[in-house]
């Protein structure tokens, strides 16, 4: 019996075990790659989900706006129909006014016909101030003094302000200067500049368009100065007026578009403040353009004093009926929602800025502001708009200066950037190299930490120790158990070796992933800083335009914007 133990079979078993371990290792590698692939897929899915959530939110917001817009459009039709139903019959009376005057000029209609028409209107439109005024007008044409006086008395009872202005314009049309001055004087006596009716715009229109000449022009100019002087004596008036103008100018700030500085908007945590400063700076150009356009171009002057008066009479009878005001308010808000594409907040801001237009009475300075900024709402002419702006220029300049100072104080001095896990600050993009170095340092530290974190798991160590111990224990039994023990220990050793060898690959993988992220972050940082430099340049450029607005407004003076009609040569002192 030979004492030599044949280990060849052990050797072949160990070789076989090593091959099997290699297969296991390959499989583990495959699984590892699959896990990485799944991780990448998960990251991709996460990004896509985030993008989807953003798209969904944008969709919901857009959908809400679209619905608001549609609702506003539908409601607008309803409100207009309601106005038409409730006040449509006033329209006939309104149209009849200038119809009577023009028919009388042309002498084409019998006086009795005119009289019959006005009597019918008196019957069909109860409580409307214009109906008795028209009866008085037709009686005047017919030379029926008694009826004329009764008609005037009734019209005055129903609405003294409008009747006085109405007959002032009719007298101006008929070139009766004394009567015009008396009607205007009556109108002025009734006015309180602290709470004046909106139809005072007609007086401004008459003044600015040169309809009121001679004594009437002087009377209007002096009464305006007197009213404003009275208002200025009121505590807090000037502040109120500046705030009123500041609110008007503030809503002229254009909204930044999605194409403005997209990288900065995405990666600066204080992007809303940065964009607000941009919007405020751009307002200077918008304000400058508004006033430049207003004062550019020739005014369309009505060919005759009759046409000018008719235009003012149309405006007087059409735009200032207080019963229609609640409907007009609703109509205007709906119209603004439609104009703002369903953005209710923006519409509300614009509506609030012009809310005084829709009040029955307000102070005279507010009427000047409304005539300057929303002439279409009051039916004011461009000439009146120019006059109102030039008369308000001191307040506009003060409001503009205050707004500019407010916005300059709010300019964010730093852009707070957050790109992936890195964050940094820059004021104007000039510190690119320092930030790039900081970014690199940040990722170097992350890579080092990630590489260090890759280590053998406790399970591997346990498998190794358990394999060696159990193998050793088995070997103590002797005989073939030695063989089995050796195989077990070898298997544990091989497993440990394979796992240890795989660490390098995992470390390499972690390094590459973070290096790729660093490259992307560096590109984003570069783009953000480039945009920040452009942003600062644009904000500084737009901010400097603030002085252009002041220069433009300083060049205006109100007397120069009182239109001189060809038939008159009287100027305001």
């Amino acid at each position: 019996m030979s004492n030599v133990i044949d280990l060849s079979s052990v050797h072949s078993h160990i070789n076989q075990l090593q091959r099997d371990m290699q297969v296991v290792n390959n499989n583990v590698n495959t699984v590892s790659e699959q896990v990485i692939a799944v991780y990448r897929q998960q990251e991709l899915t996460k990004d896509q989900l985030q993008a989807l959530a953003e798209e969904f939110q944008a969709f919901v917001a857009a959908d809400q706006k679209e619905k608001q817009k549609q609702y506003a459009a539908t409601e607008l039709v309803r409100v207009r129909q309601e106005i038409d139903q409730k006040f449509g019959h006033h329209d006939i009376v309104r149209r009849t006014t200038t119809g009577i005057l023009q028919a009388s000029d042309l002498e084409m209609v019998r006086q009795n016909t005119i009289h019959t028409v006005t009597e019918q209107l008196m019957v069909t439109t109860p409580n409307y101030w214009l109906a008795p005024a028209l009866v008085a007008l037709s009686a005047w044409i017919k030379d029926d003094r008694t009826l004329a006086e009764r008609g005037v008395a009734e019209a005055i009872r129903r609405d003294d302000n409008k009747t006085s202005l109405f007959f002032a314009l009719v007298c101006r049309r008929a070139r009766r200067a004394d009567a015009l001055t008396r009607w205007l004087g009556r109108y002025f006596q009734m006015q309180n500049p602290m709470a004046i009716d909106r139809e005072v715009v007609i007086m401004l229109d008459g003044l600015a368009n040169g309809v009121f000449g001679g004594g009437a022009l002087v009377a209007c100019s002096s009464v305006i100065e007197q009213w404003l002087a009275e208002l200025e004596e009121q505590a807090g008036f000037l502040d109120e007026q500046r705030k009123r103008w500041a609110a008007q100018l503030d809503v002229m700030a254009p909204k930044p578009s999605d194409r403005d500085y997209p990288t900065l908007r995405k990666y600066a945590t204080n992007a809303p403040q940065l964009m607000a400063a941009l919007s405020a700076a751009r307002r200077n150009q918008a304000v400058h353009d508004f006033f430049t356009n207003l004062f550019t171009g020739e005014l369309i002057v009505p060919p005759s004093i009759e046409a000018a008066c008719d235009s003012l009479l149309d405006s007087l009878v059409s735009n200032f009926d207080d019963e229609e005001l609640p409907y007009r308010r609703e109509e205007r808000l709906l119209q603004l929602i439609k104009e703002e594409d369903g953005d209710k907040d923006s519409a509300r801001r614009r509506f609030d800025a012009e809310h005084e237009i829709h009040q029955e009475n307000t102070n005279f300075a507010a009427v000047l502001t409304s005539s300057a900024m929303h002439p279409e709402q009051l039916g004011a002419t461009r000439a009146t708009q120019r006059y109102a702006v030039s008369r308000s220029r001191e307040w506009i300049m003060a409001a503009h200066n205050d707004l500019v100072a407010r916005d300059r104080m709010q300019v964010t001095r730093q852009a707070d950037l957050k790109i992936a896990s890195w964050s940094g600050m820059s004021s104007d993009g000039a510190n690119e190299s320092a930030l790039a170095a900081d970014l690199k340092q940040h990722y170097d530290a992350r890579i080092e930490a990630a590489v260090s974190a890759v280590a053998l798991s406790p399970g591997v160590w346990i498998a190794l120790i358990a394999g060696v111990l159990i193998g050793g224990l088995i070997m103590t039994a002797g005989g073939t158990a030695i063989l089995i023990g050796l195989v077990l220990m070898a298997a544990a050793g091989a497993f440990f070796y394979v796992k240890r060898k795989d660490l390098d690959r995992q470390r390499d993988e972690a390094r590459k992933t973070l290096e790729k992220e660093h490259e992307q972050a560096a590109a984003i940082l570069k783009a953000s800083l480039a945009e920040l430099a452009d942003y600062r340049y644009e904000v500084a450029r737009e901010d400097a335009r603030a002085s252009d607005v002041t220069t433009l407004l300083e060049s205006l003076s109100s007397p120069q914007f009182v239109l001189q009609r060809p038939e008159q040569r009287v100027s305001v002192a």
Binding site: L238, D239, A398, N401, R406, R408, M409
Partner: protein
């Protein structure tokens, strides 16, 4: 470190107005008239005095500082002391690390501040506006700031 002037060390500027002092404090002007007066364009002499603040003259002698204080008083002769500015803040052109200097009229002190150092709370409100550089200086009041342009124009900010 704060840069002290006139050998006053680094004492904190006082911003309180001693209401117990029996000096002329109020005027015959109404609050609205006071506001209107403070809205008016500042005089060239006043602007010139404030311009010199940065030249460092006030660091060398007390007479220069007194001249500055006199100019401020002369600018608002009709206003009571509690209606005049509590102080002024202007951009500092001494260069880094200094960013702004303040003139505390209550404590009669001029002090330069580095970018990293906080000013007293009342003055700190004007810091960003001062840094903007569009205004020659900022007047400090209890509830408002008045930004004064190089041409003397006034913009009012209510805090």
């Amino acid at each position: 470190m704060p840069r002290s002037v006139l050998g006053t060390g680094t004492r904190a500027p006082s911003l309180t107005v001693d209401t117990a002092v029996p000096v002329q404090r109020t005027t015959h002007l109404s609050p609205a008239q006071v506001q209107q007066r403070l809205r008016q364009r500042r005089s060239p002499r006043y602007l010139e005095q404030l311009r010199r603040l940065d030249a460092g003259t006030h660091h060398q002698n007390a007479a220069a500082l007194q001249e500055l204080l006199d100019a401020i008083t002369a600018e608002f002769p009709e206003l009571g002391i509690d209606e005049r500015p509590l102080g002024l803040v202007a951009k500092c052109y001494l260069g880094p690390p200094y960013e702004a200097h303040i003139c505390d009229l209550g404590g009669s002190i001029v002090e330069h501040y580095e970018r990293t150092r906080s000013m007293p709370p009342l003055f700190e409100r004007a810091r960003s506006l001062t840094a903007h550089g569009a205004y020659q200086f900022i007047e400090i009041y209890a509830t408002t700031l008045r930004a004064i342009g190089a041409d003397g124009s006034v913009a009012v900010l209510t805090i």
